[in-house]
Symmetry: T
Subunit: 68 residues, 12 copies
Amino acid sequence: MSGTYKIIELVGTSPKSFAEAVRAAVNEAAKTVRNMGWFEVVDQRGRIEEGNVTEFQVTVKVGFKLER
Amino acid sequence: MSGTYKIIELVGTSPKSFAEAVRAAVNEAAKTVRNMGWFEVVDQRGRIEEGNVTEFQVTVKVGFKLER
Amino acid sequence: MSGTYKIIELVGTSPKSFAEAVRAAVNEAAKTVRNMGWFEVVDQRGRIEEGNVTEFQVTVKVGFKLER
Amino acid sequence: MSGTYKIIELVGTSPKSFAEAVRAAVNEAAKTVRNMGWFEVVDQRGRIEEGNVTEFQVTVKVGFKLER
Amino acid sequence: MSGTYKIIELVGTSPKSFAEAVRAAVNEAAKTVRNMGWFEVVDQRGRIEEGNVTEFQVTVKVGFKLER
Amino acid sequence: MSGTYKIIELVGTSPKSFAEAVRAAVNEAAKTVRNMGWFEVVDQRGRIEEGNVTEFQVTVKVGFKLER
Amino acid sequence: MSGTYKIIELVGTSPKSFAEAVRAAVNEAAKTVRNMGWFEVVDQRGRIEEGNVTEFQVTVKVGFKLER
Amino acid sequence: MSGTYKIIELVGTSPKSFAEAVRAAVNEAAKTVRNMGWFEVVDQRGRIEEGNVTEFQVTVKVGFKLER
Amino acid sequence: MSGTYKIIELVGTSPKSFAEAVRAAVNEAAKTVRNMGWFEVVDQRGRIEEGNVTEFQVTVKVGFKLER
Amino acid sequence: MSGTYKIIELVGTSPKSFAEAVRAAVNEAAKTVRNMGWFEVVDQRGRIEEGNVTEFQVTVKVGFKLER
Amino acid sequence: MSGTYKIIELVGTSPKSFAEAVRAAVNEAAKTVRNMGWFEVVDQRGRIEEGNVTEFQVTVKVGFKLER
Amino acid sequence: MSGTYKIIELVGTSPKSFAEAVRAAVNEAAKTVRNMGWFEVVDQRGRIEEGNVTEFQVTVKVGFKLER
């Protein structure tokens, strides 16, 4: 992976699972960031309403190559 | 989120996925705890039997508002 | 769990979810390691290609009893 | 400090400072918990509204002696 | 370990050793908590008086199954 | 908090307190970032000159919603 | 900051706030240590008496240049 | 300690103390591993049965020199 | 260091050493970021090909002053 | 514990147990340091010779009050 | 990186630098392990003799693909 | 390593590399501290001026045997 990379931190959300929350964050970021190559999970949280989990929230670090 | 909150720690289990294990812990806690608002994953483990994962175990911290 | 156990570290991969990545690692290890009893997740990462998550990678520690 | 102690986790909030948020959590807990002896800060967060910090949130562990 | 578990945090003390401090915390908790299954050490401290260790203090997390 | 969020890391400074240093960072960021919703303290440092604390420095992570 | 620095660890206390506890530790150390340049907070604790916070305790690492 | 070393992770158990659990893991490993030189404790857990600690479990990393 | 600072995270790479990998990341960032003042290493990794280390990868946090 | 405290870091050793290693470090320090009040374990290691644990090594932080 | 990987932990040593210590560990491991793909530094230590650093010791985790 | 050891924390600096920064700290300490035996890296930072790394700063813990 020679070259230089930047890492940004995102929070994705999903009513279904942690994996879907990661996908949501990555897909949203893809609208403005190019060359994303990997992610790393740094936090997994969620919202509870009336005794049920209604949202999974995953904080990810996403790395992408800086273009010259 | 003005007011004071208490955080309890639970372990939920599921044969299917980490997300289901979180839901199991939250739903069980809902039988006796009111006003739960959020959870945070602190550990993800599981049981292996005869070379297969038979149980996902997720330790979560759950926060709820103290009622006056 | 009296006796002595050894812990090995594995990375499993899956295009679908973190839980499937854990299962993949454990099932592959089962081909050569006997008596596996538990796992613990130590890292969750993944690959992004063209703006989509194409692989979930989970690093797990797996414990198994040493046979005398 | 001979004897046995229990530790509970609380989140206090204040519009003014981290110290006030700790005091709020401890004072609220004092309504139902006796013999509290010490606290330890484990997280400091807060809410931002329209570009201003409107709430400081401090998560504390609080220890108290178990009465026989 | 299917089912849901709760984790509580305790501090046990002993003039003799860390192991005895753990036993003290667990035995005291057993007076009011049923179904305890495991503990995990999270902190080891102690008191010094006139140049001698006079007390070992161990903070443990203790897990027990929630009864339905 | 459905949707996707970005987290940025800032260091605020104040001659008076940690809380003021957080406010300084958030207020400065508000000049260019919209929709900030929460912060989390990740480091607390400071400068000492001639035996006195002359500056409190707080590193915070700040989360804000990505606008579509 | 060329040269070599030493780091010492101190605990300051204050009945008012975390910032005052840091100032107390630094001011006390200034009586015997020269050239202190920075501090870093490593722990924030406190004492509770009769349901009120009566003391804030801050553990800081303090760096100072070694004089040749 | 010039040369190259390998580190393995083991869990030893003992009904008596943490020190005995370490000895048990090291003695069991000595049956198949030569040249072990040091250990480091990474986790201390245990089993509780009917309100009593019945087993101390210590996870250790053990280092040994690779023979050419 | 009065004022407000932003921290970004970068990964630099080098076939020679960790220090060169840091320099590579900082020099690349200098093309678009002004006022960089310090860095902190947060991760050190690398690539292995045919039994040889062919790349050192260093993740750094870099701080720079926000211009008004 | 009003006043200011200093924390020093020591490694004690014992052929018998972790508790004895802590006592050894504290007793040795008592020859030159007055007013020691507490310790905290930060690392537990040891030496292995010919397949047996021959030394327990405990790193402790020890706090003592600064005299005016 | 689809497939399953194993991670082993090694300590390499060098009288010259941390980078050389990593190379030493990887080259030694290459004698018996195939398919190594990456390393991660987990600890950096060293030996001091008569006031000089005489050895750099780097603990690395090394990942390699399991062959079917 | 029977006996009792003290650990001190130092920051060394070098314009060239992390290894040189460690050597600088150890050599400076050797002027006043005898019997140093090992070091451990706890932080790696540096200064950036006009887009170039001009200083590597390494924080090390250094252990030495207490003389009776």
